[in-house]
Symmetry: D2
């Protein structure tokens, strides 16, 4: 640096220093309580997840015990009211997702599935009995839930699902079908399964949600193997062969695709925040590495090409955080609209994936192992990019919202 | 669109509608006063600039009369206190920049140069006499100022400037040198000229700022011709040949590069907001065009490829607006740091240029004329991308801030 | 550079030096004759176009006299056989396009329109009388042709054209309609106009081509003003109001959209080569500028950020040239398929636009005037990107070719 | 597709059909022999690698037996003359690399390391005895070689290596140091190790190459674990603790960094071709998947957004292939320069990585497992992107070649 540039930062009038890890001082947008809660989760991630998650990823496991630790911390169904749930703001829940996913997308996925996809529909659409039966144990992490919507041939177009529920003469429901890519499936105590009903029946073919205890006859949930992404997370098929459920196994308060889509909205909101965490972790790892890796007699952070990458990553992380907080505030104000959630899910995950890939390149050969967190995040984000609505589906949801023209098919 | 997707937006729980022109409802972040002020400027741009600016651009002119209209509206030195200035918040000033640049980057440049580059240093570093002499007339648009820092061979590295000021025996200053790419140069009444002093003199070679009345002997400001960008703006050289100024022509309260850099910070802040306006105007033009242009029997807004472009543009505009407002709030809180301003200038201008290019492509052949605003904005933004610190310089300022390593040279 | 890297290029075994302007030695793929021809055109561009084209662009003119100079050089209908045409290979014609567009896309457009869009259909689909009447004068540049396909509401979907031709009782054709964005329209002696015929008539509504002398009653060709792109080129509307033509004004040997599409193929082939020229000119201007522009005491070409831009541009230019030559060889071998031409048009123009934009940024403030060629090329390429099939249309043509699924609408 | 576009491809004059898997008919650039050889390797990959490589990747193994199969096929040291090597052209060797890497980058890496990094230096710089001792067995795959240049703290700047060789009184060499990221290290019979010599000794500190039998005392080669990339490949550390070698263990014919850099050139050439194979495999997998995956009642290949991705991938693969063949022809003509090899390595690997990522997104959830080849290739290419010169280093090599200014540090 020549002396001329030294002057460039010699202004009396303005503060010069910024926090490299919070460049735009987004912390100033949070309340003290939010910061405290965020820091608690961050500390938990540092103590309980980061030291082990590389191993979990390598071995392809997620320790079921973590559920209770999440529960103790109040992370499960965190923004729901009552039934043992913490009842925080949506923003606070989002910030917890950020910290969890700074650990691993698998950990955040666990919490999202438990809270937003399994507990939320019971809380929003369940009977009082259903709530009493399931929610307290789920909030404590003693019971695990999963969410069965996607099928092998029905992903972006979920209403093409084939899983069906028919009532037999006894009034029981009989479910048949298969669900795919189900987080927590093999360790779940209860599965929220969405199925189409008999077109001739009282529900006229509408999709309904069912609470399926996983020990019921005809239900199985084999693990999906050979994953390179979300390896520290349980992913399963759900197979339902003449699964018989009592009449009251259905979620009484919702009918139609509004049910699962409401859940997806909840989960997508959490992903908007969560993905920032993965991005931030990659940026921090790359910044740290580049300051310590010396080539040509200087830290590689001093090379313009590397510095530009670091800046690009930082800029993206900051944009993502600003966006997430904005969405959080709107959700808490009750003004957040569905397409705005799609904006957050689509854009923050895309951004996080870009950051992870850039970070990977900065780490050089060291970037290909799980000794460093980056390639793990990079692979995890491939799932996050795809699940809960692919980038394309959200693009078309946004396109629909701005043009008034649906272009899905 | 199949019926399945129709359902995708059939949630009872959440609002579904968004404003295509304010997708994330960023207006909700503004006060009523700010919205009112913003709308006033927007209306002014609609009435006085948009109907004519295409012609101005074609002919390569900027009508000097506009200065007084800007003055009447209170736009000149808008966020300064006293001396006939409006004394608004920084955020309000930023929002005005957004609206002006939604008209044309030339109009915003006029206001930036007058307020942030010419009036600001007089206000911040001038003597009471200097303030009284110049500021009220400049606030009213009756006097025009310009800012002479850049030189033909000294752009990104301004402290390599050759323009110099020496004191002669009489105590007068004698200025020699040339400045380049000076907005408003040929129509200015006063030029704020930065020059190096005699290394052997009392200022020990430090850069000082001088108020140069443009009718002084030895001063000339020829127009720069053949521009394709900022054609509705006056761009000039400043030539100083033995320009003699009285001893009190110097700005007394600043010495060194801190002077011009403080001004640049002010202007860059305004650009962070302004560029959002250019981007928004391009997005709106493209959205409007795509909804009305029919090919293959449907509005092109209905094609996935076009819809993705529209979404990308909208996303970028919204990010840019969120960022600008965040920076505005920090500036008003007195917490905004120099590198954060660089973030805003760098990123929002880059983004605006991307949006303009994308919009250009949507307009097809119609996009190549000034009948539509897009190609005008696209070309204007090339100047905005370059001036007040190139993308590279700001990248390295940010890089320095996060790594602690200066990599400018 | 440290001594270690010095060694990095100290190999005995391999040549080390490359030509920065032909990095991959693509010249080695050309025959001596081709190089000679190419150099002749290059010299002509240097002598006759480059010294003046900035002025032409500024003033928005293309001197009609250039037509004869192109004719003398053999550039008009260059790859056609007989009738005064040069009869070169397609590759040779392509190389000439590269050199012309290194001058200005307007010059190349003139030659493309004259040779590929006006002379080609007469040559391919005309009667012997038509050929004799028009081709020799057109080859010499004494007569100018234009091509009327696009209409105000019919661009990407040309078969939706409204211009129509009906036979009246006398056997004459009566043409009505309007064409838009017609290069050379206002200076043409003859317009090749495509029109739909009477659905009830002998042509059953098929599109036919007509040779319309521009001095015929009812024909006018007003200039299109306010262009920012292709300003050194004549662009016009064609207005046909009850234009009466003799029965033999129709091109006898073609019926249907095959006619205009054959012409487009010819022109698109030329654009594949031409756009490389514009890209190369921008790269060379940026390389030259960056080697001479000193900031922070060194040529900016020595900064990593600038060097990366230069490398990216060079890489793109070389890829584009390799591709163009490959397409040329296939065309000469008679194996070039329509989708391969779309590949060349789409990809090389996109690439050229990217190179031009990158080059613009390297030139800093100097890059915004026509004193340097870059911003002129950048704006020209916006037209080239759009005309002869937009990027989107070609994407979908390629998509159709690889998937077997047409997704145009 | 409307009928209008149907016409768009109804030209009599030109062929319409293209091969989706060889869009530009690059096969026409190959000789019959080359195609035959290429097809042989392709068949081998289909039969012996593709059925098992997903498993190898999952388990993190590369079966040593493959070495002999490669040898039988003539792939080891394929373009070297004599000593049991096949002596093919460089282009033929390149095409074999393409096919191998269409299987897995690990397989190609094995062949590159054996042939270009271990056999090549023995062939080029070894004594007749050394050649006789090692090359025939290595060509047959009975002996495995590895290449020790990179060290934990010495990657992009290899001449900063710390591994050293000193002569003791007996005339023996004593080697000490550690090498990192060494493909085949743990299964090698011989390691080509580069080490700095005594600055005071006869070699004056120059780097020399040593043939180290891996069963020598003081040598060990522990596996590197926890890789997510190149899992079907052996990657190791080499540890040399007072390894004693006879005086004739040194490669006699080369001194200085020219030795290892010559080898890198050979390997980088192979990577230029190899990476095209990985890209092609990903494109083909995505094309196939998109034609078979039905959502919204149609194959996703019919959606514009997916079709654009497919087109982008295809375009990149074709460019990469054109480039590789061009480089191959130059290498066979003896005209290929070092910076041109850097062009090929840098650009084709970058491109392949982009293609792999795009393909991953098309496969949706199915894209995250090794049931499909894409995520395996995507992760492998992260190593290929980094090794044999990172993208940054090659960018700066090219930048140096076009500007004459080294900007490595």
């Amino acid at each position: 640096m020549g002396p001329s540039i030294a002057n460039m930062t010699d202004h009396a009038a303005l503060p010069q220093a910024v926090d490299p890890l919070d460049f735009l001082a987004t912390d100033s947008l949070l309340s003290e309580t939010e910061v405290m809660l965020r820091d608690t989760v961050r500390q938990f991630v540092r103590n309980r997840i980061l030291p082990e998650v590389g191993e979990w990823f390598d071995q392809g496991i997620f320790p079921k015990e973590m559920a209770k630790e999440f529960g103790s911390l109040g992370l499960l169904g965190m923004h729901l009211e009552g039934y043992g749930c913490a009842g925080t703001s949506a923003t606070a829940y989002g910030l917890a997702c950020t910290e969890l996913e700074a650990g691993d997308s698998g950990a955040r996925s666990f919490v999202s599935v438990q809270g937003s996809l399994a507990m939320f529909p019971i809380h929003a659409f369940g009977s009082e009995d259903q709530k009493q039966q399931w929610l307290p144990g789920m909030a404590a992490g003693e019971l695990i839930g999963c969410f069965g919507l996607t099928e092998p041939d029905s992903g972006s177009d979920p209403s093409s699902m084939r899983t069906n529920a028919r009532k037999d003469a006894s009034g029981d429901w009989i479910l048949n079908g298969a669900k795919m890519w189900i987080t927590n499936g093999s360790i779940a105590d209860v599965a929220v399964v969405w199925a189409t009903t008999d077109p001739e029946g009282p529900d006229k073919g509408a999709v309904r949600g069912f609470l399926v205890p996983t020990d019921v006859a005809g239900f199985s949930a084999p693990l999906i193997h050979r994953k390179v992404s979300l390896r520290a997370s349980v992913t399963s098929e759900l197979i339902l062969q003449d699964v018989r459920l009592p009449a009251d196994a259905v979620l009484p308060e919702v009918s139609g695709m509004r049910g699962p889509f409401s859940c997806l909205n909840e989960a997508r909101f959490g992903i908007s925040f969560g993905s920032v965490g993965a991005a931030r972790a990659c940026y921090e790892a790359a910044l740290d590495y580049s300051l310590n890796r010396v080539q040509f007699n200087q830290p590689i952070a001093g090379f313009q090409l590397t510095q530009k990458k670091l800046v690009d990553m930082m800029v993206k992380v900051q944009h993502a955080m600003l966006l997430a907080i904005h969405l959080g505030r709107m959700k808490d104000a009750g003004t957040l609209a569905t397409p705005q959630i799609s904006f957050g899910k689509m854009d923050n995950v895309r951004t996080a994936l870009e950051v992870a890939r850039e970070a990977r390149s900065i780490l050089g050969a060291n970037g290909i192992t799980t000794e460093y967190p980056v390639i793990r995040h990079m692979n995890n984000l491939e799932s996050v990019y795809t699940y809960e609505g692919t980038n394309e589906i959200h693009t078309l949801i946004l396109g629909n919202a701005i043009t008034g023209i649906a272009a899905f098919s």
